[in-house]
Symmetry: C2
């Protein structure tokens, strides 16, 4: 993993995210997502699939997910954002679905059910598993921020990942003051940081907070989906806009995050 | 929902669960799962799909899930055990995938991210959403049982479900003493109770604990997967064995759980 910051670009077949000129059909989504990959493959360090949007299209959506995944160049880091969490053979099958069948390099996992729900993912020593630690939604106050549960999660995840050094955490950028606090006890764990851009987190503040002082493995991915998509006032070719915005994000991240990128 | 106890039968295309005579292929799993439905449709009150096993087969697994789901008689209650949990439009798309595309009557959801991760599911007023509250795995000790988090989850879920009275909870049977405790502050919420049978929870103790004294809506489903499958010493037709075992479970549940079943 990286010591600095790098850009993760989202791949989500959502009707609201589809630019003019693309139909909200399997074919239209696939054409657009392939276009995004082509327009940003030399800019993005990672691509993140949000599985919900594919699943809402049923088995045809899953088949499209498989095709789009195979269109990503081999050197890119592919994250399956699935937030699965279960136990025993069920957890093993979720890990197999994401790491083997889909061929993702990383997955997001919900840690609520504890260590035995994490182990089937962490057993893939050459894959990364990002555990939900502190999210940026209002509901994070219900349980994650209750009695410092998020701190407990980070500390346990850090211990779980010791063997293969392949555990990471998801920390929402919109709680800027919390990102620095989490980094203080996350050590060198990799972070996946959504919530800059459309959700309002400040990039420079987030990068300063998420940085692990260059310790090995302590890189972080700044994830952007809507931030690279054409806005309603953007004129011109949608994929050229995506490319330009991705370059802007990459450059801002490099400036704010330093490190090996 | 029911006031008494009833049987939920699991549908899981797992190689270890496949009786002799069925190949571990899409066709073999489909034939067996259709056979289980045919053999138990007049016995089971519910069928529960464990999505992990289908997903580990990729889009072909999802297509098989869709076909098997359509083979379930209209009067059965269909649960999509997916344990999803996310926020915003992502949560909406997971709910749409399970309730609309797959046509499930109920889904399991992970409540970790709080209220706004629950609302897109609960907004389907005629569908049931079961939230993970207390699971029966060792890792439940990591977070769920820390400082009574499971109690907090149950209390909040109960409040979230007020509008449509469609929230339920998942409570593992192997923590028998805990099932009664949870029922005490769960009020009349419906419970989905896995963990009897192969996982070792005692049925009679569980039913006595899970019962809500007949208050409206306070029914519970006793979920069995391996318990209805042929064991290695069982001789004869696999589906006849499944039917016989399902009848035994139904009868034991009716005796132990009483109520409207």
């Amino acid at each position: 993993m990286r010591t600095g910051a790098a850009l993760s670009v989202g791949l989500e077949p959502a009707p609201d995210y589809l630019p003019r000129g693309y139909e909200p059909s399997i074919e239209g989504y696939e054409a657009f997502l392939r276009g995004v990959i082509g327009a940003t493959a030399d800019i993005a360090a990672a691509f993140k699939f949000n599985l919900a949007f594919f699943e809402s299209l049923g088995s045809a959506g899953w088949a499209m997910l498989e095709r789009v995944r195979s269109a990503i160049p081999a050197e890119a880091f592919v994250i399956a954002d699935a937030k699965r969490g279960d136990i025993g053979t069920t957890a093993k099958h979720y890990a197999r679905a994401l790491f083997e069948h889909l061929g993702a390099d990383a997955a997001t996992v919900n840690p609520l059910m504890g260590r035995d729900s994490a182990e089937p993912f962490l057993a893939y020593g050459d894959k990364a598993t990002y555990f939900l630690a502190l999210t940026s939604n209002p509901g994070a106050g219900d349980f994650l921020m209750r009695d410092g549960l998020y701190r407990e999660i980070v500390e346990r995840v850090r211990a779980w990942g010791c063997e293969h050094r392949n555990a990471g955490i998801v920390v929402g950028a919109t709680r800027g003051e919390k990102v620095a606090e989490v980094r203080a006890f996350a050590g060198e764990m990799a972070m996946l940081v959504p919530g800059v851009g459309a959700q309002g987190g400040d990039l420079e503040t987030t990068c300063a907070a998420a940085r692990s002082d260059g310790s090995p493995g302590g890189g972080y991915l700044i994830h952007v989906t809507r931030g690279v998509l054409p806005g309603k006032d953007d004129k011109g070719d949608a994929l050229e806009i995506v490319r330009r915005k991705a370059m802007e994000w990459r450059d801002r991240i490099a400036k704010a995050g330093g490190g090996a990128g």
